[in-house]
């Protein structure tokens, strides 16, 4: 048997759903082999994971906390990748949104404005911060032709340094300078109460707080869908992603569109950053072992790729991957194999990437034509 790979003319719908599901199944199966090979019981490990992610008391609360930022970074990635603009700087753009958003919260909240106004201002400033940071690789790409992949990646580290600097190496506006604790360990200045995002509570598992950020993420998904599927802008950008030449010929202003996509992507990531301040951390978290350890930006790329860059699928996948991440955090230490979550995530992503070939191409098996000269039929398998 020999096989050839040929491009599909149209992609069947069921495959688009089957490939991600198959990837998860294969990912779990391969990880089970890793677990078995190292002398762990895969079934009990998976049961522990599932319990800690969705079933045990308070687990859904934690899963939402882990999933909300992933929804933002996933949407930010999807917004750009769909258009073949590879912004992998969601990580840094999230930090920048957290910084500018916290500044707005500290300043306006400190002056005693109404909470709704303060929160709106934080959301706005968070988007601006993320978008501004994304504008740097955007401008370099649009006007100098520098690969946005590498520039946005490099800027993540610069943003991380700035974040650490603001809390650890300076007496900045964001840093808590008063009180005993401030002299022991540097922390961010706590946000005033009007700048804290209070979400509604649902009475399941002894009370779950729905983060306001999760609501904003769903809203952002809807806006993205409308923008890309129902508006002229989305169509033009899609043409641009598919064929630069065709877009130019049709009169699309390429530079503006590239920059606009980067700004949208960065703005969403920045919103994820300010949601960290307002929803969860209630201060700017500059600790290298805090926000920066979570690598939300990079995991967001996993989320977006698994969702095949569909905004609604991103929200769903973010919830699932958030559950996995939360379970990994909760179970860390104890008798649970550490690092397993990364292994599972990685293998699922490998499968999804490989499965992409099946969506785009058809694999056809061609029986080898047997010439009469080769007379050894019993040797065939």
């Amino acid at each position: 048997m020999r096989f050839t790979v040929e491009r599909r003319l149209n992609q069947p719908r069921w495959l688009v759903v089957a490939v991600p599901i198959g990837s998860v199944v294969v990912g779990l199966a391969v990880s089970a082999v890793v677990l078995l090979a190292t002398g762990h019981d895969p079934l009990s490990s998976y049961r522990q994971l599932f319990d800690a992610a969705f079933l045990s008391t308070g687990s859904l609360n934690q899963t939402l906390i882990a999933a909300t930022p992933l929804a933002f970074t996933g949407l930010a990635t999807a917004a750009a990748f769909r258009m073949r603009i590879f912004n992998i700087g969601a990580e840094g753009q999230l930090y920048m949104g957290a910084i500018t958003g916290a500044a707005a919260g500290l300043y306006l909240g400190g002056r005693g404005g109404p909470s709704a106004f303060v929160i709106a201002a934080m959301v706005f400033m968070g988007c601006i911060g993320g978008a501004a940071w994304a504008a740097i690789p955007g401008v370099f790409r649009a006007f100098f032709g520098a690969s946005e992949i590498l520039t946005s990646l490099m800027l993540n580290y610069v943003a991380a340094q700035i974040l650490t600097y603001l809390i650890f190496e300076s007496q900045s506006y964001w840093r808590q300078t008063k009180g005993f604790n401030a002299t022991v360990f540097p922390t961010g200045k706590p946000l005033p109460s009007s700048a804290i995002w209070l979400g509604p509570t649902v009475h399941v598992q002894g009370g779950i707080t729905l983060p306001l950020g999760a609501g904003f993420a769903v809203l952002a998904a809807v806006v993205l869908w409308v923008l890309y599927r129902r508006m002229r802008f989305g169509f033009e950008v899609q043409v641009l992603g598919d064929s630069l030449g065709a877009a130019r010929y049709a009169g699309v202003r390429v530079r503006r569109k590239v920059l606009a996509v980067m700004l949208i992507s960065g703005g969403i990531a920045g919103l994820g950053g300010v949601s960290q301040d307002g929803d969860f951390r209630h201060a700017l978290d500059g600790d290298p072992n805090g926000l920066q350890k979570q690598a939300y930006g990079y995991t967001g790329i996993v989320v977006a790729a698994l969702a095949r860059y569909n905004p609604f699928a991103v929200v769903v996948i973010a919830f699932l991957i958030g559950g996995l991440a939360n379970a990994g955090n909760t179970l860390q230490g104890a008798d649970f194999p550490s690092g397993l979550v990364g292994v599972i995530e990685g293998i699922i992503l490998f499968c999804a990437l490989g499965g992409e070939l099946l969506v785009r191409h058809r694999v056809r098996f061609v029986p080898r034509t047997r010439t009469p000269a080769v007379a050894a039929p019993e040797a065939a398998p």
Binding site: V34, T38, I136, Y157, T164, Y298, A305, G342, G346, G354
Partner: protein, 320 residues
Amino acid sequence: MNNSLLVVLIASGVAYGTPLLFGALGELLAERSGVLNLGVEGMMLVGAVMGFWTVQRVHAGSAVALIAAVAVAALAGAATALVHAFLVITLRASQIVSGLAVTIFAGAAGLSSYLGNDLNLADVPASHTFHAFFPARMQNWPIVGPIVFGQTPLVYASWICVVAVVYYLARTRPGLNLRAVGEAPGAADAMGINVVAYRYVHTLIGGALAGVAGATFTLAITPQWVSGITGGAGWIAIALVIFAFWRPELCLVGAYFFGALQALAPELQARNISLGPTELWTNSIPYAATVIVLVIVSSRGGRRRLGAPAALGVPYVREE
């Protein structure tokens, strides 16, 4: 004289720069063949943990154990790179997503951490480590003592690698073919060069060198295993390839420059010298400088002179 700031900085720049140099040389070979591998950090960590494991388990003389450890680290790095190679070369997957997937799979929250825990490697000192190769008398010679003679054998091995890669790219037939594959795979294929084989081989060599880079951490710089011990060196190695305009000899200079920057902040603090927010700028310069270099390289005149391999990041599909 050997305690002057400049000498100390250059000497530690060479030491800290060595893993960057190994990683960058490997990434350079992969990129010259047209494969962008963002999984360097993950491959380094797998090399680091497997190298450390070998040195703990092999009961032999120091030299044998260390050589075996470096070999195992290289194999482990290459094995990790094989996943990336298969996905992007054979299955034509997105190189960016695949590379990041390798880092997530193998990185600080993935396989390397899993192995480190499972093989009980944390919190134990290495049973053998690389030491300075030359006798103490030579290390005390002014200036060249600490910089040239105070280094571990891995440093001298990295110099041999640089010379080998320079010679390979510039003076050998396979090196020329490799450059052709990275610049114009279609033309290379038409010439009868096996594009797929070239890309596989060089991605794997890149992984092996990244594995050695990881072992440099666990066997020489900080001889122990801690999850995430490379601390982002893989990303600096990727930056370094660009910073060095895809040239091995410039990788050497860049690696020692970036290495010295890492040593600068603690060194200045120890000497009570204040140069503003030192950590901020010493840690940011490698990345910021790389962004600037990228912009220059991408501008019209620069691309032809210094440019990246033209087919970098583009899967090769033969028209059939």
